[in-house]
Symmetry: C2
Subunit: 310 residues, 2 copies
């Protein structure tokens, strides 16, 4: 999986990923009204409009970006109708050649971890039938439960060529409360980083990176530089660019000298670009996906200027 | 929520919870065949048979136990059909007067945490309509992301009288890999325990316990005794009894002297009791729910003998 992702990053010369995290207030008024009229003000209406919203975004960015990262919470909130939209979104993104990183942040043990692994990155066996349920190339995981909660996924990664991005240092202001605690083996996030690196050794790809990556928030450049040294062969999935405050110039330390090693996520800054004050005169509501395209191109240029030219 | 739970525990004289974690191989052959014939070997067939399986279990234990704890992974594995079954199971359990603790172990920040909180323990607003999506009284959460990932839920707990059980010390053998790391403020799980206790002070119930509880595995009695001292006003949700190896006599230290303070989960040991070697002559497949009833009564007696008589 990591080789496929890196190939796409090189082909598109773009280490970014679009976060497909729709919220009702981001959906253009005309689209909201159409589905509310058709389906009532129901979870089903929301699921249908989110799919159309995502589809238009995907149609306008699939030639620019290597991957999308849907955040399952935004769909799960609306119950099973929402989850169906999540699955359809993943299917559609894959049909357009995009990689799908499911931001699910699951974390559980034994048969429960097996259930998540099978559903999200493996195949579900029903008697003699097999189903690929979630159509994801990789998912995010939480490490608090230790190896027992990660190992069940590793065999699925191997068998189905899938990837993991494990939370190491998250982008939120308060992430240090737990993750920066000093332990007898360095700070907690460093310890987790070393574990992720160790787990990853089993699944090295041809470009020199592991199928097991790490989530490292864009808002902590110093810790990222430290982690870059601790785990040189681990790909970083980096949330927090744009809306959460990080800029391209802060992100240099997330990459290795080969220009690889990190993929930067932007969600709201791209999918809701038409709502930005400076875009309101330029793009009508109907053109929300064109605004997303422009924002995606702008992000690519922004990161390239800083990262690939040096 | 915690007062409602404690009232039910006292009323039924039973500090246990039934884990509704169905797996295909637990469903009796006759039931599997019926739904495969009706719906094909599909996720929809599995979702329908899981619901019938759960419904029969609930019908046979609702007068004995105060609560059920469905593990969402077992349903999510089958995609949106599975999630629909999860929601219907919760609805049915509540209609029989049971409390529902959703074992979701979510953990995320800002607007993502809001989305989970709204969906799982709040109400989802769609224009001027409000929906209760998941029908849960409480959910489990993962603390690795710090306060930012817990605080969004607290206001929903307050507004909708819901509860949280935050992972502190989990039941898996390898939980110590992260959770037992020595930090500058004690072991990590102790530090997390103190945080949970601090968060909980905002939401104290009338019985002297907080709406914010902790998950403390039944397989670590020493650490539990330590945590019992660190967090006397925190209710413990305790997985790992039975199938994972812990016995009633190991669990004394999880309770306070008032006989309260912990609720013990058993999943497989109850819902798949009819598959136990010693039950095979006693219960036919058709009587799987009667076997579950007997196992639930046995567990109640087992815990009472050890905990309430002293």
């Amino acid at each position: 999986m990591i080789d496929r992702l890196i190939d796409k990053i090189i082909e598109k010369q773009n280490p970014t990923v679009v976060g497909l995290d729709p919220r009702l207030e981001m959906v253009p008024q005309f689209m909201r009204e159409r589905y509310f009229n058709e389906q009532g003000k129901t979870p089903k209406a929301v699921a249908k409009m989110f799919f159309e919203f995502n589809k238009e975004i995907i149609d306008n960015v699939y030639d620019i970006v290597p991957a999308v990262k849907p955040q399952i919470a935004m769909y799960e909130r609306y119950g099973h109708e929402g989850v169906q939209c999540y699955i359809k979104t993943n299917e559609y993104a894959k049909s357009k050649g995009l990689m799908v990183i499911g931001d699910v942040k699951r974390g559980d043990i034994t048969s429960t971890a097996e259930a998540y692994a099978e559903g999200h990155i493996g195949e579900v066996k029903i008697d003699d039938q097999y189903y690929n349920i979630y159509n994801q190339d990789a998912i995010t995981l939480n490490p608090y439960l230790g190896s027992d909660s990660i190992e069940p996924y590793i065999k699925y990664c191997e068998k189905y060529d899938k990837g993991l991005f494990i939370l190491v240092k998250t982008s939120n202001p308060n992430s240090g409360e737990i993750q920066d605690l000093k332990t007898n083996e360095g700070k907690l996030y460093e310890r987790v980083g070393r574990l992720v690196s160790k787990w990853g050794k089993q699944l090295m790809g041809e470009h020199g990176y592991s199928q097991i990556g790490a989530v490292v928030g864009a808002t902590h450049p110093k810790q990222a530089e430290n982690l870059r040294n601790i785990m040189p062969n681990t790909y970083f999935l980096v949330p927090g660019y744009g809306a959460q405050g990080a800029k391209a110039k802060d992100l240099k330390g997330y990459f290795n000298k080969d220009g690889l090693g990190a993929i930067i996520n932007s969600s709201r800054g791209i999918i809701a670009a038409y709502l930005k004050e400076s875009n309101k005169l330029k793009f009508s509501e109907e053109d929300f996906a064109l605004a997303a395209r422009e924002a995606a191109i702008h992000m690519k240029d922004d990161l390239q200027g800083n990262l690939f030219e040096s």
